[in-house]
């Protein structure tokens, strides 16, 4: 922390970069999952897991690389985001490894697919790729405002990403949801990436149109209704999200996109009427879909009474199991590796991974996890507040709003607070797309926060001050 001195009367004081704070926190973010890993190994096999040191070194190396990249290329970035993501990702790996050890899930996989392959090594690999991408984003994207140029390209990109899974031959129908595409043996969930791309479009579009949307409106019953041509995009997004839902059986993604758009629109225009309109539309949409789409109806029924159809149809088996695993966890939980959350079945390590947290770490663990997520959201919103350009503000709030909605929709779904939607808990759940997309999201937030907290460059030497120089006698 050196003070920059120049010849101006007002010296710009450099802000503390907080990189050392980040490094210290990262230490904990690597150490805690290592302890968790040792704990699971001791609980299940009675010995320290053989890969423990390797695992710790791997996670530590990845975190170290990420830290160095941030230190070099985003010096003033928020110091909490990286450690939080690392901690969640590390704990997620432990949870997945723990579920890999479950005999019940192994047998289930053998019966369903003829073989069992553990998910944890794959997840570790995806994590490495994701952190490479994280570094790549920070290296390439020197300034987030560059993304403004890609407003309409992102819209097209988002549409393509969303439509991909429906294309025959490319899309893969897994357990009734058509949200995957499979390319060369890898399955990708384009919706996760579309989340980021569409946020770029929204931010770029709204930054340009915010005045028109906010001011050119008619007053009707106390609400400011915008003009039809300005309303067009929101209707389009709404329709798109419904279509996504209908064709891909993906309630969560459609809710996420729509919610994200409403949040960004509201921030851009500062008009409460958008919230009201958005709510009305989503309620309308949800009612129509809930009444017509059979699989949504099933989920709503299961949500209303998770045990009613338990014996008869098995439709609420998953939610019922999940709620019971939370209940069985109690306040302190059964302990890592000592619960039976694998009773939920094949989705135990993806959609329902949070139930394992609930059962094995108990109320205390669940609250800790929710607070970790809450902190990420808080840092994201803080970044939006601190950002100096409207595009950055909108982009940051869009991403953090989407993140918050995703947490709410997933955790609320597995805890039976809202109907189940089939999304995954960021960083925890097994699945490459989710890890990659969320690390990119963190990278972008770090980039925006770096720009926001970067001190203004020192003013150029002022000619006036030159003028007042004492002229030495010659």
């Amino acid at each position: 922390m050196s003070v920059v001195t120049n010849t101006t009367t007002i010296g710009a004081i450099e802000l503390p970069s907080r990189r050392n704070t980040e490094l210290l926190l990262l230490g904990f973010a690597v150490l805690i999952p290592m302890f968790a890993y040792a704990n699971v190994g001791l609980a299940i096999n009675g010995t320290l897991p053989p890969g423990m040191v390797l695992y710790g070194l791997g996670l530590g190396a990845l975190a170290g690389i990420a830290h160095l990249v941030v230190r070099r290329y985003a010096k003033y970035a928020d110091p909490l985001l990286l450690p939080l993501a690392t901690l969640l990702n590390g704990l997620g790996l432990v949870l997945i490894w723990r579920l890999d050890q479950s005999e019940r899930l192994q047998n289930l996989a053998k019966r369903a697919f003829g073989g069992f392959s553990p998910s944890a090594p794959r997840q570790m690999m995806y994590t490495a790729v994701a952190i490479a991408l994280f570094a790549g984003v920070l290296l390439v994207l020197k300034d987030h405002r560059v993304l403004q140029r890609f407003t309409y390209i992102s819209m097209a990109g988002a549409l393509v990403l969303l439509i991909l899974p429906v294309i025959p031959g490319l899309g893969a129908d897994v357990f009734g949801a058509k949200i995957w595409i499979s390319v060369g043996g890898f399955s990708i969930q384009p919706g996760e990436f579309a989340k980021i791309v569409i946020a770029i479009f929204f931010a770029g579009y709204l930054m340009v149109k915010r005045d028109a949307l906010a001011l050119a409106s008619r007053r009707f019953m106390g609400l400011y209704l915008p003009r039809g041509r300005d309303l067009g995009p929101i209707l389009m997004i709404w329709a798109m999200s419904l279509l996504v839902l209908v064709f891909e059986n993906d309630l969560g993604t459609s809710l996420l996109f729509f919610g994200m758009f409403v949040i960004m629109l509201y921030v851009a225009t500062e008009r409460t009427s958008w919230i009201v309109i958005g709510l009305l539309m989503s309620v309308g949409g949800a009612t129509v879909v809930g009444a017509t789409a059979s699989h949504v109806k099933v989920r709503v029924t299961a949500w209303l009474d998770p045990f009613d159809c338990y014996a008869t149809s098995g439709a609420c088996e998953q939610v019922g199991q999940s709620i019971m695993s939370f209940g069985s966890g109690g306040v302190l939980g059964a302990g890592w590796g000592q619960g039976n959350s694998d009773l939920i079945g094949f989705a135990a390590n993806s959609d329902f991974i949070f139930s394992t947290v609930g059962e094995e770490l108990g109320l205390a663990g669940v609250m800790a996890f929710l607070l970790l997520y809450g902190l990420i959201i808080e840092r994201g919103v803080r970044t939006a507040l601190a950002a100096r350009d409207p595009f950055g503000k909108l982009f940051a709030i869009g991403l953090s709003g989407a993140f918050a909605l995703q947490i709410f929709v997933v955790a609320g779904g597995v805890m039976g607070l809202i109907p189940l939607t089939g999304m995954t808990m960021p960083f925890l759940a097994s699945g490459g797309s989710s890890v990659l997309a969320n690390w990119i999201l963190i990278a972008i937030l770090i980039r925006i926060s770096d720009t926001a907290r970067r001190p203004a460059p020192a003013p150029a030497p002022s000619p006036d001050s030159e003028m007042t120089q004492v002229v030495r006698p010659s």
């Binding site: 009675g46 019940r104 047998n107 949040i263 509201y266 921030v267 851009a268 500062e270 045990f307 338990y310 014996a311 019922g320 709620i323 019971m324 939370f326 209940g327 069985s328 966890g329 109690g330 306040v331 039976n340 009773l343 609930g358 108990g362 109320l363 669940v366 609250m367 929710l370 607070l371 997520y373 809450g374 959201i377 808080e378 919103v381 803080r382 939006a384 507040l385 409207p390 503000k393 909108l394 709030i397 953090s400 709003g401 918050a404 909605l405 947490i407 709410f408 955790a411 609320g412 805890m415 039976g416 607070l417």
Partner: protein
Amino acid sequence: MNKPLRRISLFCGLLVLALLIRTNWLQYVQAEELSTRKENRRVQIAQYATERGNIIVKGEPITGSKVTDGSDYKFKRTYTDGELWAPVTGYASQAFGSTQLESLEDRILTGNDDRLFFDRTIGMFTGEKRQGGNVVTTLNPDAQKAAFEKLGKNKGAVAAIDPRTGAILALVSTPSYDPSRFAGNSKDDEKAWVELKDSEDKNLVNRALRETYPPGSTFKVVTAAAALEHGVVSDINAATDTPEPYFLPGTKTVMVNHAQGCEKASLNKALEVSCNSVFANMGDKVTRDKMVETAEKFGFNNDKIDIPVRAFASIYDKKMGKDGNAQSSIGQFNTAATPLQMAMVTAAIANDGKLMKPYMVDQLQAPNLDVIEKHEPQEMSRPLSAANAEKVQQMMVNVVQNGTGGKAKMNGVTVGGKTGTAQHGEGNKKRPYAWFISYAEMPDKTSPVAVAVVIEDSDADREDISGGGLAAPVAKAVMEAVLNSQK
């Protein structure tokens, strides 16, 4: 743009708050309910996750555990001589729940009991696997086997008690079932379960504790005790004022005697040949309320006889009229008793009037065999004085020596007993129940065994069904087994 941003951050905060409230609701408020729901397999998984402790008879386990592969439940219960011990152990089935000792002492057997907390904590640090504790019973394997073999294919039950302590020595119910057959959760187990559950023979019913029968003439010893206790009779050899024929009080119905010479017969003689009229008359004179009082001291009308498995309440009606009371005094009408209850009656008489609380769990042991609970014999009540008990004993010995209970006679041992043939069914059409209660006395005047036998149904012709003929040999075998095992 900062004002809406702040509102959005508030909204995000509310989303997280909603989740926090929900998790508190699920994991704190509703935790108990959710974790014990019937749909929650964790309860059973935990029950069978470790090797269960054993139920032990005379140092030998009569239960065991074996590993089941490919199932949520790691260990399956096995039983040695399942049919023989089923009325004692009950069953513990992965699919169909558990009953009796397996259920009542489940927390000891699984090792979850609070009293095992210390063992569990130690085990946590030493890395030892959790083990279940043992339940040590009071049963006598020789007596149990003798009763089971003698009952053979007959439908019936035996209960034997050590009158001095109340310890249960035998508890047999036939036809029985093998709990091993449905201990798992496979298709075969289910088939066996359904078969047993719906069987006409009611195999799953524990007849010794959970079935009540009209006790018939065996109940006369209770009436005799009541008559002596309430001063209606003091000399058992004195003539009573019983007319022949004897009409039920207030009716024109004759109390039929199958025996000869009941007119004005003494109590002793009346028990010897089993005169109905004499005991109906005695019961009437004692009055209903005093009959109820004595019967209740013996354990009738008590629905909380836990040994620790709960026995059904035996009935002596508290509200019937005079004629009903007279009929009930010979063990008919509304009187109903479990075999355990009649064994308790016999034990109280044999133990000089002191009824000891019956029990069949002697000790609960921790996995390391430390005793964590030991049963101390307790007095339950005193239905009759020692002097009167002596008189009833004399009469019962007389029944075996000279009367209907001759088949229970043993060389060199004093045996007291009473036969019973209880009518049942509408118009008494069904095959009567054959009863026999008896005790054996050692030279020091104490009795190591009192036994009650009931045979519900047998292949014998109706005319041949009698307590003395069918049930007495079973009782004799049990008494012999107990006496021999004490030598």
